[in-house]
């Protein structure tokens, strides 16, 4: 439900990240990391991003979302594992002192900008 606010933040960060000498270039792709425990629905986020970036220099850019698994560590025995259900109890020692190592990400990793000279690198 807050994907629109997030899309607006993403657009702002993306526009701030374009180097001054490339300010007129088109942004083709925005690479994002989204933890599976974050309250974000990727399809909604993509839709909202399309809406907010319309008629900007970021219009048409693809929002590439990499989902990050939820990895946790037991604070008592040190056991480390991936969870696919919200159970934060150590399977080894039953401790509830479990810390999340990943899965809450909502990060912009990089942007990809149209680069005519560099386009032949694709072939290499």
């Amino acid at each position: 439900m807050h994907e629109m606010s997030l899309a607006m933040e993403i657009l702002k960060i993306v526009q701030d990240s374009i180097p001054a000498d490339l300010i007129d270039a088109r942004v083709q792709r925005v690479n994002l990391k989204v933890g599976r425990m974050s309250a974000v629905v990727p399809d909604s986020l993509r839709f909202c991003f399309t809406v907010v970036s319309d008629k900007t220099n970021v219009a048409g850019a693809e929002l590439a979302i990499e989902e990050v698994a939820v990895e946790v560590r037991c604070g008592d025995c040190g056991h480390q594992w991936l969870i696919d259900a919200p159970v934060f109890v150590c399977p080894q020692c039953s401790s509830g002192r479990v810390e999340m190592l990943s899965g809450r990400e909502l990060d912009i990793v990089s942007i990809e900008i149209e680069d005519e000279e560099g386009s032949d690198a694709h072939a290499g």
Partner: protein
């Protein structure tokens, strides 16, 4: 859980990764996938909010104010809980409330009867937002004499999803679940129940009339957030309120010392 509708798009890191699946692109080529030039950014999407929340937190610390962020779905009884809590906490503690709703000032009208300063935030000015963000709290504080506050309570927008994602600079987060909502809510909204520091199970005066299994809820919460205190209360009858208020007073006290 973990949203099966989330579509997975693999994007490999140039640095090491240890998952095993076919690699249609070599790592060197993959940064060129759009044919463009890749510029590293590495910033949290909520950077701006987090920075504002940190500023709020610093401000609250400098004033010795304890801040409680109260979240739940609509209709769980947040406002009634706060009305009754304020009646017990004041005047021993100087309280103030920021209450968020998309529309109307009904909650603020009810809460201001307590005598505490109350600021209503209507988020329709911010695009009908489903949560209170840190900058909204900063703005709302302008309406309160913050030198005369020990405990600031923020009643967030009724919503079990989005508010969990937005730090507002609070000290503790409390989630309210009412027994009319069903035992399955913690498992359906794990992030909220994981992110909160305590839970209030409200409307227990209705238990004789419902097929609600308290034990199932407690077991579910114990898996999502082991050790989180759960207070079973009825804001209407006052049942269980003492334990909750003692906990809250202790939190406020421990921040001061």
């Amino acid at each position: 859980m973990l949203t099966p509708d989330k579509r997975l798009i693999y994007r490999h890191h140039k640095d090491g990764h240890n998952h095993t699946h076919p690699h249609p692109f070599s790592p060197e080529l993959e940064t060129q996938r759009s044919g463009g030039r890749e510029i590293k950014v590495v910033r949290r999407v909520l950077d701006a909010n987090d920075m504002m929340a940190a500023r709020n937190r610093e401000f609250f610390a400098s004033k010795g104010i304890f801040v409680l962020n109260v979240m739940s779905s609509p209709g769980s009884g947040k406002t009634t809980i706060l009305q009754r809590s304020l009646a017990h906490l004041m005047p021993e503690l100087r309280c103030a409330v920021i209450v968020g709703d998309i529309c109307t000032t009904q909650d603020a009208d009810r809460l201001s009867l307590s005598g505490a300063p109350v600021v209503q935030v209507n988020t329709d000015q911010f695009g009908g937002d489903c949560h209170l963000a840190a900058h909204v709290i900063e703005r709302a504080m302008a309406g309160i004499d913050m030198d005369a506050v020990d405990l600031l309570i923020v009643e967030n927008i009724g919503n079990l999803v989005c508010p969990a994602e937005f730090d507002i600079g609070e000290d503790q987060r409390v989630v309210v679940l009412s027994v009319t909502e069903g035992e399955d809510k913690p498992a359906k909204y794990p992030l909220m129940f994981r992110e909160c520091d305590a839970m209030l199970l409200n409307k227990i005066d209705l238990l004789p009339y419902l097929e609600y299994d308290v034990e199932t809820t407690l077991q579910s919460v114990a898996q999502i957030h082991p050790g989180m205190p759960v207070f079973q209360i009825s804001a209407k009858s006052g049942q269980g309120m003492d334990a909750w208020l003692d906990w809250l007073r202790e939190q406020v006290r421990s921040k001061r010392t």
